[in-house]
Amino acid sequence: MMSLGLRPLGRVSAFLLLGLALALGLAGCRQSGTVVTPVRFDRPRAIAFACFDTTTHLFVERSRCEGLEEVSTEPVGLTALVAQTARGEVAAVDLRTGQVLDSDSLVPGFTFRRVGVDPVAIVVPANAPATTYVASRGSRKIQWIPTADLRPDAVGPSSSTGEVVLDRGSPSDLALSADGTMLFAPLADISALAQIPILADGSLGTPTILDLDGAIPAAVVAPAADPFERICPTSAALRTLPAMAPRPTDDFLGLSPAPVRVVVDPDSGDLWIADTNLPLIHHFSVDATGATPLTSLNVGAPVADLALTPVVPATLGAMAESAPARYLYALDVRGGDVMAVDLLDGSASFGAVLSVNSGLATPDRIHFPSRARTLTVLQPQPTGTVCVPGIDSEEETAAAPDLLRGVFLAIGLADGSARIVDVYDLDAACRGGNGCSSPANVSDVNVFIRRNEPRIGAALSASVGIQTSPTFSFESSPGVLDDTGRDQAQAGPGLQALDACPDFMSAIWPSTAQDGAASPVVCAATDPWELPAERWTATWEAALPGTGGPGRLLSELDGAAGPWLSARAGGVCARGVLGADDTASLGADDPQAGYGGDEVVITSDLPVASEALPGCEPFLTPTDGTERDPVGFAILAASDDRLRLGDSLSAAYSFDDVLTCFPGLLTYEVRSRAAYTVLGSSSAFMHRVAADAFGRCAVDPSVVVDPTEPRTFLPGRAVAGRTFDNGLVAFTIQHEDIPGGPAPNARAQLTFSLSRVPPGLGASMRSAEGVGATAAIVDELVWSPIDQSLFGVDGHGDRLVQMKMDPFRVVRSLR
C-alpha cells in the first residue's frame, strides 16, 4: 500500500469524513445554482430590415428577399435590426428562424452591437445594404457601421465605421432620401432639420442645418365629400360626413417648431415632417443639391407621426374607373387620435384635414378608445386585382373581413393593440355579394366598409341586437317585457312601441321589428363605428354620476334669499345638473324642454348633536337595515357652486326643519326628478349642460337642436311618454300600468345590453392572456413590403411582434 506519509485514518474517523463529504455533496446538489438569464431586448424601438444571403454570408439588395416564405430552409431571408434604447445597442433578428442573434459569441450571454445613447432610428439602404446608419438622440450623433457587424455570421464587403456628432440638436428620427444620397434628421430642440450627405464609400459628410419656419399658413377648407364605401344592405342609412371648419391655431402663435419625424414620399422624394409643437406638417422638396422648403400644411394640431398612402381610387372600383385620391395620415399629439389630410397633387383641397366620421365623435378624427402612438400604411398585395362580384373568382370566394388586400392604415395604441383602418379594399365590391345579395360567405350579410373608418373585423350575419330581452324591474318584480314593450305582469313601467326609429337608427328589439314585421321598441344607431358594445340603464330618480359632495344648507347666501345648498366642491354644471328654472327657456324641440328640474338628497347621517333634538327623529338612519326616506328638496336653479332649493320632497318636513337638524356641513347627491337617469356602461351620462358666464347651469345655448345631428341633443334623462334619443339608442318609456308613474324613491330600472356590435379588426401585442401576462404599449409599427408583414415594437414588453395580413393575425413574438 503506498504510503503518503500520513497517519492511516481510524475506522470512525473515516466514516465521519465520508459522511461529511456526502453531506456536503448533497447540500451542494440541493442548492440551486445561480441562473443566468440571457440578455434579450431592452426597450426596443426603431427597426429596419436588410436581406441576408446565408450562402455567401453577405447582406444583399432587399429585393432579393421579396416574395420568400421566410423559412429556415430559404437561403436568403430578412434580418431585422432593432434599436435597444435602454443600453444603446442594435440587435439583429434572423426572421427566417425567429432567432435573436448574438453579435459576439465570445462574450457570455447575448451581446448586441453598441451604438450611441438612446438610438432612435436605423436606416439600411435597400440597394446599398453594406452600411447601416444609426441616429442616437442621447449622444447627438449619426453613426455609420458595417451592416456585417450586426450579424455574427456576416462578412464584408469592407465598410468603414464612423460618426457625425451634431454640435447642437438631438436627432429623433432618420430618413434616407429617395435617391439614397442623403440622410435627414429632425432636431426638435433647435427647430431644425439636419441634412447629411452620404459619400461614395458610405461614410457621412458634413451636415447642413436647415432651420424650420414656424409661420402658420392659412388652413385649407375641406368640402364634404362622398367617401369610398361599401355598405350592405343598401338600405342602411348612415349620416353623411359633415363639412369641417379648420381648427383655430391662435394658441400656437409665437411658438417654435419641434420636428420629430421625417417621412419621404416614395413618389416625389419630398419630405414631410411632423411637428409636435406647432400645428404644421413641414414640406421640403429634395434634389441633388439638397432639401428646399415648401409651404407647410396647417393641420390644426401638433403631430407626432405621419404616414402616406399611394394614389388610390376616390370611390369604389378600380383606379381606371375612378378619380384619384391620396392621403396623409397624421397622429394628433394632444388628442391621441388620427387625422386624414388630402395629399392629392392638384386637388382643390390639398392639405385640408378631412371629415372622417359622422357620429358623435369629433368629425375630423379617426378615434379609438385608447390613445394612438404610432401609425403606418400597409399595402398588402399591391399588385392584386380588384375583386369583381358575380364572376365567382378566387378573390370573391376568399373575400373576408380579416383578409387584407389593398391599402390600409395600421395604428398602434396605448392599450397594446394594433388596429386597422380602411383606405382602399380591393375586395370591397365583393363583400356582401353582388348587389348586396348572396355573398360567397353566407355570414357576410351586413357589410360596413368606409374609408378612414376602423375596419370591421367580423362577418356580420345579423345586425345589432339586444342580449336576450330588455327588462324593466319595478320594486320586487323582475320586469319581463313582452314584444310590445309592456310589462308582462302589467304592474310596472314599460316601453312604448315607436312608429319608426329616429333617422339613422335601426330597430334592435324586438327581433320581429328588425324584419319589419313589428314596430320597433328599442332602436340603436345604424352607424357601426359609433356604437360601443355597452349596457344601458334608465333608473327612476337615480343620482347623476359624480354629483356627490359636501354642502351646507343656508337661508341666505351672498345676500340672496334662499333656501340654498352651497355646493362646496363646485363643478355642479359639468355633471349635468339642471333646476326647473334652467329649462324654462328651452325651445319645444329641445329634449330637455319642460323638464321640472333635478332634486338634491342629503346622504349623510344625522349629526350626533341633533339626534336628541325634537323633530329630528324622521331624519335618523333606521337601525333595521332599511333606508331612510329621502331627505331633500327640488332644485329651482343650479349654479356651479350652489343650488337654489324649492319644495321639500315630503310634506312631512320643511326646509327649516331640515336646517335645524342639519345645521352644519352635510353630504348630498343630485338625482333626476320624475325622470329616469340614463347611463351607458361606457358612454356614461351624456348631457349638454355647462356653466354660463355667471356660473349658472344651462343647456348649451350655442348648440341648436338638429334632429339629424346627435351631438345637438344628448338629453341624459328619459321622461315617460317622450322618446329618449341620444344618437346611440332610442326608446320611449310608458307608465300605462302605473298611472302617475312610480312613487318617489320607488325602484324602477330599465336594462338592456347591446349584442352583435361589430368588432374592429385589430391584434393585441400582449404576451399572453390571463394571470402573468405582460402588458404591452405599442411604440412602433413598420410595414415590411418585402415579406408582406406588419411589425410592431412593444417597448414595454420588450417584444417584436410580426403580423400577417391573410388573414390579419399575430404570427410570432420575438424578444
Binding site: P550, A684, A773, I777, H796
Partner: protein, 460 residues
C-alpha cells in the same frame, strides 16, 4: 458521574434564568448618529430656497432599535462635492461624510451633518408643514405618526432626548373613539396642508393631516400644537386595497389615492368650509376615476403607485404606473368623471416614485420634467411631460427610491435605499441638450454621494 449529574438541573435552571433575563431585557442598539440605514425619503427644505436635506431612515434590516430622521447642510455638501472635483475624484468615487475616518477614501466634511432624532423603524414618508417648521413621519411598523419640530437652522427636536418622546408621536383618538372611530394600521402616504388655505376654514385653524393606509382607508387628523399629539377626526374605509400614496389636486381640493391592485384612482374629500371648525370636518368618498385605454396585463387589475399634479397649475396630473410600467399624463374629465389620457411614456422596472419640476423657469429653455425612480432596473427616467417623451435615463443607481430636485442648482438628489446613500446628480447636461446649447453628452452625471455605499448581497 452520578454526582456530577445531580447538581446539573439546578445549575441549568439558574443558567437559563440568567440568560433569558438578559435576552428579554435587551433594548437593542441605538442607531449611531450621522449615518444612513436604508433611507426611504429625502426632502429639500425650505422648498423655495433649499438649504438642508431631510432624510428618513427606515432601519430596514432592524440592525438598530429605531430609525432616524436627520438634516444635512446642502451648502456644505456642495462645497465638499466641489472638493472631490478639485481633487480629481470622479463622482462615482466621491463619498462625502461628516465623520472623519483616518485612512479612508471618504471626503470628510465637518459641518455637513446638522441634526438627528430617533423614530420607530420603517418610516413610510416625510411631509412638511406648510410653514416648514414641522416634519411629519408616518411609520408603518408601529402605525405611529411622528411630529418633529424643525428650527430655522435645521435643528430637529422631538423631546429632551435624541429619541422622540410620547408627545411627539402617536395620535390622540380619545374624541374619535367615542364615535367608534379608530386609526387604521399601516400608514403608507401622508399629506399635510393648511386648513384655512386648503379647506376654506377660518385663519388660525391650524394644519390638517391626511394619511392613506395600505388596507384601503384614509384618516383625517388635526395637526395640533408643538408638543401635542395629532388628533384623529375621521376615518373613511372601503377604498381599494393596497393604497400606495396620497396627493392633493389643487384644482378640486380632492385627494387622489392610487391603488396597487385596481385600475382606478380613488378620491376622498374633506368636508369643510369657512363656517366650520376643523374638528367637525369629515371625509367623504368623492368617487373613483377609472384608468381606461391602457393595458394592465389583466382585466380588472391595475397597479398605480403615485400621482403628482402639475406644478405650473395646469389641470393635469402624472400617474406613475407599475403595470404597465409607465408614466401617464392625465387630466380629469369633469363631465364624465373619469380621466382623459393625454400621454404615456414607458419606464424601467419597478417604478417607485416620481417628482416633477419646472427647470430654467422663465427662460426660453424652460422645461417641465418628470423624474421617475425605477428600483428594479436601477435607474432614473427623465421625461419631458409636455412632449411627452423620454429625455434621458440615468443608470447605475443601486436602489433608487425617493427623488428631490433643486431647480436652482440643477441637482437631483436620489435616495438610494439599497446602498444607504444619497446620490447627488448634476442634470445640467440634460437641460443644456434640451436647450440646444450642449456640446457633450446629454446624460446626467453624478457629482458624489452623501454617505458611503453599503453593499447588500440580496434584497428581495
Amino acid at each position: 458521574m452520578r454526582d456530577h449529574l445531580r447538581g446539573l438541573p439546578l445549575g441549568a435552571i439558574a443558567l437559563l434564568a440568567l440568560l433569558s433575563g438578559g435576552c428579554l431585557d435587551n433594548t437593542g442598539i441605538t442607531p449611531p448618529g450621522r449615518e444612513f440605514n436604508f433611507p426611504i425619503a429625502g426632502r429639500l427644505w425650505p422648498a423655495d430656497a433649499p438649504t438642508h436635506l431631510l432624510v428618513a431612515n427606515t432601519n430596514f434590516d432592524l440592525r438598530y432599535n429605531g430609525g432616524t430622521l436627520s438634516t444635512w447642510s446642502l451648502t456644505r455638501l456642495d462645497e465638499c462635492l466641489l472638493t472631490c472635483s478639485e481633487m480629481g475624484i470622479a463622482g462615482e468615487d466621491c463619498y462625502v461624510t461628516d465623520i472623519i475616518r483616518p485612512g479612508s477614501d471618504e471626503v470628510a466634511c465637518p459641518g455637513l451633518f446638522k441634526s438627528e432624532v430617533i423614530i420607530d423603524s420603517f418610516a413610510a414618508d416625510i411631509a412638511l408643514s406648510p410653514a416648514g417648521d414641522r416634519v411629519y413621519v408616518p411609520v408603518r411598523s408601529s402605525s405611529e405618526l411622528f411630529q418633529v419640530e424643525l428650527a430655522s437652522d435645521g435643528t430637529l427636536s422631538c423631546g429632551p432626548d435624541r429619541r422622540c418622546d410620547d408627545s411627539h408621536q402617536g395620535v390622540d383618538d380619545s374624541v374619535a373613539r367615542e364615535q367608534g372611530i379608530t386609526l387604521p394600521v399601516d400608514p403608507v402616504g401622508i399629506y399635510v396642508g393648511s386648513a384655512s388655505a386648503d379647506l376654506g376654514l377660518p385663519e388660525g385653524s391650524g394644519d390638517y393631516v391626511l394619511l392613506s393606509h395600505r388596507e384601503g382607508a384614509t384618516s383625517l387628523l388635526s395637526a395640533g400644537t408643538p408638543g401635542t399629539q395629532a388628533s384623529l377626526i375621521d376615518v373613511r374605509k372601503d377604498f381599494a386595497p393596497n393604497l400606495a400614496s396620497i396627493s392633493r389636486d389643487p384644482n378640486s381640493g380632492l385627494m387622489w389615492i392610487p391603488s396597487a391592485s385596481r385600475p382606478a384612482i380613488d378620491r376622498v374629500g374633506v368636508a369643510a368650509d369657512d363656517r366650520s371648525i376643523l374638528s367637525e370636518s369629515f371625509l367623504y368618498d368623492a368617487g373613483s376615476l377609472p384608468l381606461r385605454g391602457i393595458d394592465t396585463g389583466a382585466a380588472g387589475y391595475g397597479d398605480a403607485r403615485q400621482v403628482v399634479f402639475d406644478p405650473r397649475g395646469l389641470h393635469q396630473a402624472y400617474v406613475l404606473s407599475r403595470q404597465p410600467r409607465a408614466l401617464f399624463i392625465v387630466a380629469p374629465d369633469e363631465s364624465q368623471d373619469g380621466v382623459e389620457l393625454r400621454g404615456e411614456v414607458d419606464v424601467g422596472s419597478g417604478p417607485s416614485r416620481v417628482t416633477v419640476a419646472v427647470l430654467r423657469a422663465g427662460t426660453p429653455a424652460e422645461h417641465t420634467l418628470a423624474f421617475v425612480s425605477c428600483f428594479d432596473s436601477r435607474d432614473v427616467y427623465i421625461i419631458d411631460v409636455d412632449a411627452p417623451r423620454l429625455v434621458s435615463v440615468y443608470r447605475g443607481v443601486s436602489g433608487p427610491f425617493d427623488l428631490a430636485v433643486d431647480p436652482v442648482t440643477e441637482q437631483l438628489y436620489i435616495t438610494d435605499f439599497r446602498a444607504s446613500v444619497i446620490r447627488v446628480v448634476d442634470i445640467a447636461p440634460t437641460l443644456d441638450c434640451l436647450a440646444g446649447t450642449a456640446s457633450g453628452e446629454c446624460t446626467p452625471r453624478q457629482l458624489g454621494m452623501l454617505g458611503r455605499p453599503r453593499a447588500i448581497v440580496e434584497l428581495r
